[in-house]
């Protein structure tokens, strides 16, 4: 409490960078991110002006006991990507399963590989 005001500022959360794999198929770009300990309700995927941001919140462990070996880091997983113009941002699919987020970013019509008919002349 400072000057009678409620200083309700939460402590700054640690930001962690999750490892990702990025693959390319004919139709889409696939991003796979490791987000262990993140529940679906604590995950946000946002697209803003050509930039895709993943933010997953990892909660404090519920065990109240004495922690004597800690390698986990508690905080927010954050990773941002620039989207190329060929990505169709309105049709991004996201699936979170067993701590792995799969994002499927369909490519716009220009980038799809098309079979071109060869006319025999």
């Amino acid at each position: 409490m400072i000057n009678g005001r409620e200083a309700e500022k939460s402590p700054e959360r640690l930001e962690l960078v999750p490892p990702v794999d990025i693959y390319d198929t004919d139709e889409a770009v696939v991003v796979l991110a490791d987000l262990p300990g993140v529940a679906a309700g604590n995950l946000s995927v946002n697209v803003d002006r050509g930039s895709l941001t993943i933010r997953g919140r990892r909660e404090e462990a519920s065990e109240p006991g004495q922690r004597y070996f800690q390698e986990f880091r508690v905080g927010d997983y954050v990773r941002a990507f620039s989207l190329g113009e060929d990505v169709d941002a309105s049709n991004i699919e996201a699936e979170l399963r067993d701590g792995v987020l799969r994002l499927t970013l369909p490519k716009g019509p220009e980038r799809k590989v098309r079979k071109i008919q060869v006319k025999a002349g």
Partner: protein, 153 residues
């Protein structure tokens, strides 16, 4: 090789670049073989582990996203908990062009020393959101008890 737990760098204000550097260091310490690794093959890795102890249990948690829990061996071996298994790629890997591959796959193993007094008959392992949690109960005699003090006058 005895693995010494590494204290996290622990700063509050972490920017992306620093987060990347932290992760590079952590990956460095977690990989058992640093030389001769073939980048095209999966390298063995060691998942991050948290251990905590309450009055009644010892709880071990391991970060294992994307692992089939049926493929993980959880064993109690002479006072240690051994977690062993393999993380496989999602099937499609071979048919796609990879731009970036940062995640760890392949064989993993961690051996975690447990305090005395755990009861090997009372072990429960669960897997949720990519975290494997192993709870091991403590034997009755090591649970803290409140001892009444008898007063004689």
């Amino acid at each position: 090789m005895q693995l010494v737990p590494r204290k996290p760098f622990g700063e509050r204000a972490v920017r992306t670049l620093r987060g990347e550097v932290d992760r590079l260091f952590e990956d460095f310490f977690r990989m058992p073989s640093l030389f001769g690794s073939n980048l095209e093959e999966d390298r063995p890795f060691m998942p991050a582990v948290d251990v905590c102890e309450t009055d009644t249990d010892v709880v071990v948690e391991a970060e294992l996203p994307g692992v089939d829990p049926a493929q993980v061996e959880v064993n109690l071996d002479g006072g240690s908990l051994v977690l062993r298994g393999e993380r496989k790629h999602e099937e499609e890997k071979k048919t796609k062009n990879a731009h970036r591959v940062e995640r760890f796959f392949g064989q993993f193993e961690r051996r975690i020393g447990l305090p005395e007094g755990v009861n090997p008959e009372d072990v429960e392992a669960t897997y949720k959101e990519g975290v494997l949690t192993v709870r091991i109960g403590k034997r009755e005699e090591v649970k803290p008890r409140s001892i009444p003090v008898k007063v004689t006058r």
